[in-house]
Structure formats: structure tokens, C-alpha cells
């Protein structure tokens, strides 16, 4: 089976604010309007205070590299042209419990260190033969 290019649906309601933020060059994360806690991934109730209203809130788009993996052999067809690539988790500066899944760009995998400072760069996410590119947050080491 030829896997479909895994482009996100930027119109899917639970994540619409995330992709709208990326299109505007911002990393927006839902924040509980009652207690102010960042809630990631989006959910119906705030795990801290059980309120149900959230606001997509711009962040610094900075954080630390929580961990990562270097994919040396493609396990999923759409990523074969990118191999080797580094993908992992960024702990958000405002609240390290929020981890953003990302691909690391503009660096060699050998430069990466756990807990190093990183920041978002917004690039079009595209795959050969895929639909229109979607602006998305990639991360790069803060030098």
C-alpha cells in the first residue's frame, strides 16, 4: 500500500488554532481560561480545574529539547526522502509539561543534546505528491 502523505487537516476543529497560529508564525497552545494552565494535547476538560473553556494562546515558541530519535532507515514511506532525519519532543519554555512533537531542522543530528535550548521556525510542511503545503512549527537549536 502506498501510504498517503501525512499532511494535517488544518480545518479540524480541535487543532484549528494550532495551524492558524503556525500560518501566522506563532506557536499557539490552548490555555484554560479559568486557571491559566496550558492543556496539551487539546482535551474537553482542563485536567487541573475541570473547566471547559480554552483560549489559543501565543507562546515564546522556545523551549528545550526533551528527547529525540534519528530515523536512519525509513519505516514509513512518506519519510523515505528525508532519511536520516531527527524527530522528537520539545518541552515548552512556559510550561515544560507541554511537549511539542517536531522535526529538528537546520542542524546535524550530532549537534543535538538533551535539554539544549531550541526555538521554532515556521516552514511549509509538504510531501511529494501531497496536497497544498501547511505552515508548521519545526525546531532548531538556539545558538
Amino acid at each position: 500500500m502506498t501510504a498517503k502523505p501525512p499532511l494535517p487537516d488544518a480545518d479540524w476543529e480541535p487543532l484549528r488554532g494550532f495551524w492558524a497560529g503556525a500560518a501566522a508564525g506563532e506557536l499557539r497552545i490552548p490555555r484554560c481560561t479559568a486557571c491559566g494552565v496550558f492543556c496539551w494535547y487539546p482535551r474537553e476538560r482542563c485536567p487541573h480545574c475541570a473547566a471547559t473553556a480554552f483560549a489559543w494562546t501565543p507562546t515564546s515558541a522556545r523551549g528545550t529539547l526533551f528527547s529525540w530519535a534519528v530515523v536512519r532507515r525509513a519505516l514509513y514511506e512518506p519519510f523515505a526522502p528525508l532519511v536520516p532525519y531527527a524527530t522528537g519532543l520539545v518541552a515548552l519554555a512556559e510550561d515544560p509539561a507541554v511537549r511539542i512533537v517536531t522535526r529538528l531542522v537546520d542542524c546535524e543530528p550530532s549537534e543535538l543534546r538533551v535539554d539544549m535550548p531550541v526555538h521554532a521556525v515556521f516552514r511549509p510542511l509538504a510531501f511529494p505528491g501531497g496536497a497544498a503545503p501547511v505552515p508548521a512549527p519545526f525546531f532548531t537549536p538556539t545558538r
Binding site: 494535517p8 496539551w40 487539546p42 528527547s67 530519535a69 536512519r72 514511506e77 519519510f79 524527530t87 509539561a97
Partner: protein, 401 residues
């Protein structure tokens, strides 16, 4: 404080059910067999092992939603019986290989069934080409993952667990060679086991370290096989069990724990811990035992790091010491000459025996406790299975009657 998940409250079923028959289907790579055919072979062999006829079975457990299974309809068609069966979908492999005996004990207590068979089979080696990312297809269908993880290449499972392994290395100093010690122990066990897919492929630690990275810091040898295969086990009450062909193996404890973030590994607060920290203590408490009483261990090992984390989370060593614990030959069936080893996955596990998602782990423990295992642990009296899905973990404490 462990506040990122919880144990499932369970009734005490200690001593209420016994495992009396086990059977493995043929394990292989792509074979063209269907999961239902494979399941039928496993159940036939489990019933023969127990010395029971198909029409003595009045309950069947399997897992729905993971592909076609040898279900009650297949059972009746295959064995030519019209008998009504108690049916539970809370059986099969993964965590359910541990909780199926709990379901069986409750069914026996409630008078709903007296002889139950739990079965699981896969034909994923044959169907691999139709599954995006192999078994990752189940995660690709999750819309939050499809939106926030797949587009960035954080997929499938080897990527998740390479990321977890690197964080574990950072936090605790765990090394590649320590992960390799687990791969080597499992391979040695497979080399001595007649049904293991990798029985003819030896692996040394030097050989492991010389292999290239697949998803750094994991090598192919850190990852489970993709197989066609399956297994089944038969359960009944202890009185009936005592009259059957083989020595019964009693269920002394069952536990189940869950992570509040489910299979969203990226967001699990205790990133390098499994829900065994909730499950194992509950199972030991039901059994009236501790980790120190365990003679042989079988843990779900989709990746070496998952087995390593469970060594810690099930209390065999302190958190962070799993790497040092696994070194050398401590996990080998003969304890590597140590007076107190902890034999792990003595059939070869998901890494080297077959990827049948843990049900063969339970079969192996039963054989160990009967004293009929291929890689027999001398004097094994207590065996423990650690099941895992990511979102949940489970623990089954078994003992020789």
C-alpha cells in the same frame, strides 16, 4: 509521587482459577495463513495439552478490534459444535493475556462458564504490505497523532521508543550495551527454543554493538519481530484442574494499571516509566508476594527499552538501575552462574521468539512452572508476566500448584 495514572480496582481472584493447557501455533514470517486459521491451530494444541475435548469448552476469550480473531463463531465452525459459549472480548494478548484469567475467574464464580479458552493470533507478517508503518497503522488512525505527530515523522513505534530510550539514557546513564544485554539474553533463549522464529540466528553483544542504527539509539535487534503466529491457553477452576492431564498452574495475582495520557507517549509525564508501577504492586498484593519471590519473568518486549523499564517498574531493581541490572548474564535462563539471576523471556520474547503480542509469554511461563520448558529455569515455582500496551500495563502472578 506517581500521580500520572492509577491501578484498576480488582476483586481478589487469588487461587480461583488455574491454567491447565497451553498451545502455540506455528510461528513464522509471512506464511499466507489467516489469523483465524492460526488461532484454530493454537486452540487445538492447547486443548490436546489439557486433555480436553472441544465440546467441554464453554467459554472463549479474545480481543476484538485488532483484526479477525478465532472467535466463538470460528470455534463452533471449526470444531463442529453448536454449543453456546460464554464470550469475552477482554482476552487475547498484550495486557489482556494477564487479565483474561481474571475474567475467567469471575465467569467461573458467577456460574457462567467452567472451562474457558483464551486465544490470540496475528497474520501481520503476511499482511505487512497493507499496513502503513506495519503495526503503526493502529496509531496512524488516531486523529490527534495523525495531526500532531505523523506530519513531523514521529512515527511509528520504533521512533516513540527510541525517543524514550534516549531520555532514559540521559536521566539514568543507561547505555546501548545495556539494552544490548537484553537483546542478547532473549536471542540466546530463542536459540534454545524449538518454536522461536530466530532459533538459528545467534547474537553476541559484540555482534549487537557492530550492527547499524535503525532509529538511533535503537538497532533492529532492539525491536520486535513481525510475525504470523499465535497461542492459546485453557483455564478452569482448581478442583477440575487437579484431575487433568498436566500439573495445573495457579493464578495467584492479577494487576492492571493505566496512564492518564493513554497511548500519547509524547505527553506522558513520567516519560521513562510504564504503568507497571501501578499494576505490579496490585498483583503482588493479591498474591501475597513481592518481586523477590519471582523465579522467572516474562515481560512484553516490543523494544529492549520497554523490557528494561518494566524491570524497574515491577520492582526488580530501583528506578534507573535497570541498565546495570540487565548487564552480563543475569537475565539468562541459567542465571549466568549468579545465585540470584532473574531469567527473562526464556522463550526469546517478542524480540526473538515471535511477535504474538505476549500470549506466548504466558505459555512459556506455564511450561516453566510445570518443569517442561526448553530453557528450563531450575526449581522455578513462581512466574510473572508483565503485559503492556503503552496506555496500560498488567501483571499476572502464576505459581506451581
Amino acid at each position: 509521587m506517581q500521580d500520572w495514572g492509577a491501578a484498576t480496582p480488582l476483586d481478589d481472584v487469588s487461587g480461583a482459577v488455574a491454567l491447565v493447557g497451553v498451545g502455540e501455533a506455528d510461528h513464522s514470517g509471512a506464511s499466507g495463513r489467516s489469523a483465524v486459521e492460526i488461532g484454530a491451530q493454537a486452540v487445538e494444541r492447547a486443548l490436546a495439552d489439557a486433555g480436553l475435548e472441544p465440546d467441554q469448552v464453554d467459554g472463549i476469550l479474545y480481543r476484538s478490534g485488532i483484526g479477525p480473531q478465532f472467535d466463538e463463531h470460528a470455534f463452533r465452525a471449526h470444531f463442529g459444535t453448536r454449543r453456546e459459549l460464554f464470550v469475552s472480548h477482554d482476552g487475547g494478548a498484550m495486557t489482556w493475556a494477564a487479565t483474561a484469567p481474571y475474567v475467567a475467574a469471575q465467569a467461573i464464580r458467577g456460574g457462567k462458564a467452567s472451562v474457558l479458552v483464551n486465544v490470540f493470533s496475528v497474520d501481520w507478517a503476511s499482511r505487512r504490505g497493507q499496513m502503513a508503518g506495519g503495526p503503526g497503522v493502529f496509531h496512524a488512525q488516531e486523529r490527534m497523532k495523525a495531526s500532531l505527530e505523523l506530519p513531523f515523522g514521529w512515527f511509528p513505534q520504533p521512533v516513540y521508543f527510541a525517543t524514550i530510550a534516549r531520555r532514559h539514557m540521559h536521566e539514568y546513564g543507561t547505555t546501548e550495551a545495556q539494552l544490548g544485554a537484553i537483546a542478547v539474553a532473549c536471542r540466546r533463549h530463542a536459540n534454545g527454543h524449538p518454536t522461536a522464529v530466530l532459533r538459528d540466528k545467534p547474537l553476541s553483544l559484540d555482534g549487537y554493538l557492530a550492527r547499524p542504527m535503525l532509529v538511533d539509539p535503537l538497532r533492529v535487534e532492539d525491536c520486535c519481530l513481525i510475525s504470523d503466529g499465535g497461542a492459546a491457553f485453557v483455564m478452569t477452576d482448581p478442583e477440575r484442574a487437579a484431575d487433568l492431564r498436566k500439573p495445573p498452574v495457579r493464578v495467584l495475582g492479577v494487576g492492571e494499571g493505566r496512564s492518564e495520557t493513554g497511548t500519547f507517549w509524547s505527553q506522558q509525564r513520567a516519560f521513562t516509566t510504564t504503568p507497571q508501577v501501578f499494576s505490579a504492586p496490585a498483583a503482588y498484593a493479591m498474591a501475597g508476594m513481592t518481586a523477590a519471590d519471582v523465579d522467572v519473568l516474562a515481560t512484553y518486549d516490543p523494544f529492549t527499552i520497554v523490557a528494561l523499564m518494566q524491570l524497574e517498574d515491577m520492582g526488580f531493581c530501583a528506578k534507573g538501575e535497570g541498565g546495570a541490572f540487565a548487564e552480563g548474564r543475569r537475565l539468562h535462563f541459567d542465571g549466568g552462574g549468579l545465585r540470584r539471576g532473574l531469567p527473562l523471556n526464556t522463550h526469546g520474547g517478542l524480540l526473538s521468539h515471535a511477535y504474538v503480542l505476549g500470549i506466548a509469554h504466558v505459555v512459556e511461563l506455564v511450561r516453566q512452572l510445570r518443569g517442561e520448558a526448553a530453557n528450563q529455569v531450575a526449581g522455578a515455582r513462581v512466574g510473572v508476566y508483565g503485559g503492556y500496551t503503552g496506555a496500560t500495563a498488567s501483571t499476572l502472578v502464576l505459581a506451581r500448584a
